[in-house]
Symmetry: C2
Subunit: 304 residues, 2 copies
């Protein structure tokens, strides 16, 4: 499963039932929260997303609309007797904020937090295991800010069960699945991997491009990404406002998706000045047709 | 107008669409926010309560469910170009929390905050003007904690318009309204105030009793209060849990209302273990019949 759920699509001022930035991502049973705006825990609870399963919370930058829901979520995990450690990825400063809250409420959490400090202006792999990698995407904003690129590694070949026959050894099947041929004692090929296996399932990728001015160099890193979220705070008519505040217009988000040859683009971080979002969507689709709005409660799945 | 609107009725863990503690109070055009749990600004916006009008935010104590919505609300006021100063009343520590947030987002607010530090275990008048007073209610909780008692002062007598006649001087009418008789140059009574005025409208009071263990001594301070909110985290069957955590049961809330001879009792700060709240309401009404649940979006008005 590679499933993204949008919990917040709003820019700095929440409006029209849009919540500040927050997304929930599951890749092959790994659970991520990407940014954690105010109300994140209520949104999770509304959509029946369990905070018990969360292992990683990634905070793109320290503007309030991207992290003010974190302390409340941590208190709720604590009160629900969480034991499992939690990994938090953020720029320096977040720990001091959390510790200040904890100190004044005379609380300490009953689970361990592993804090991973992000580095500015540099692509870094911040998480890797046997199935996926997560790397940062350096962005241009008023504060140190980065996005996150999630990639599935090449998946194992799949055994073609129809080709197996009685009496085959389990160790030989495992060997075939890994892509290696099986040889007999004389070194002759007994079974060829290609005869017993099918090509692996497709590996997918998702890029979360948080608050940023229009910054085309990221397209290289994001080349051929399957799904891309890019902030789209303003319409073209407010382009000068976008420049002043280090944000992007919907067309600029679409231009990045086009340059990166993305599979699909999701727009979010909408300014409170827009009650209706049709203009933003229309402007983006004129440049990159496969564009959707990343609205609260919507879910996007990547599957072969 | 004396109008209370409930924005949050939940205990520490928000659940079932109940938000953490927050109430909006208007008394004669003075606008107060009482506690400011996570999501307060979204709740205000949903109920069309303007943050522009807020002049006073009172925080009962520094547990997250009572103040984690404050920083987001302040950022929203800032982004909406607030100019008017804001008064915040809280125990020491809140300023450090706010300053830590501001420092790491490299922000400074474009309006002034007047911070009023509360004192523990002592009744203090924290606000007074020509029409109302607000005093603290010392409570018993794990952290320094107080409630707030809002009282209207005696209102001016009302002119009985039917009794006025052509040619009366405005200054004489004002004098009569203030309760003083009008004399002629010889010192003789020209008009008696009682003949031209009616008794003032009734003055009302509201007591907000935030998180507290059962603490009957407060009933003296709250004697004859018109409307009382008292936390009611647990049912009687969880009384030992209430004792351990310095919270109250619904019956204990009712017992305080009975001792104080309150006009009406509102229950809130419900534990996440209760999806339905009938048991809490029933237990309180058995002791104090004029009890209601302080649920999100509900409004309570005091008027003659």
């Amino acid at each position: 499963l590679f499933q993204l759920t949008i919990l917040g699509s709003s820019g700095a001022i929440p409006a029209y039932d849009r919540y500040p930035s927050c997304q929930h991502l599951v890749i092959q049973n790994r659970y991520f929260l990407i940014d954690c705006g105010e109300g994140a825990q209520m949104q999770m609870s509304k959509l029946n997303l369990s905070h018990h399963r969360l292992e990683h919370i990634l905070i793109s930058h320290l503007h309030g609309d991207h992290y003010l829901g974190l302390m409340g979520l941590l208190f709720t995990m604590h009160l629900n007797n969480r034991v499992n450690p939690l990994h938090i990825y953020a720029f320096r400063g977040l720990t001091e904020i959390l510790i200040t809250h904890l100190r004044h409420s005379r609380s300490s959490l009953n689970f361990r937090i592993h804090f991973h400090e992000l580095t500015e202006n540099k692509i870094e792999t911040i998480f890797e295991d046997d199935a996926i990698t997560v790397e940062t995407i350096p962005l241009r904003h008023k504060l140190s800010c980065c996005g996150f690129l999630f990639r599935e590694k090449t998946k194992p070949r799949r055994i073609d069960k129809a080709k197996l026959f009685k009496g085959m050894l389990l160790q030989h099947i495992a060997q075939l699945k890994s892509g290696a041929d099986v040889h007999n004692e004389k070194g002759e090929v007994l079974y060829r991997s290609d005869d017993f296996t099918m090509s692996p399932r497709k590996s997918f990728s998702y890029a979360y491009c948080s608050d940023t001015a229009f910054h085309p160099p990221i397209a290289t890193q994001l080349n051929n990404v399957n799904l891309m979220y890019h902030e789209a705070t303003f319409t073209e008519s407010e382009k000068s406002k976008a420049v002043d505040t280090f944000h992007s217009t919907a067309s600029e988000a679409a231009e990045i998706a086009r340059l990166a040859n993305a599979g699909k683009l999701l727009l979010g971080h909408f300014s409170a000045r827009y009650r209706e979002l049709d203009v933003l969507l229309g402007e983006a689709r004129a440049i990159f047709p496969a564009t959707e709005l990343a609205l609260e409660s919507s879910t996007f799945e990547l599957s072969a």
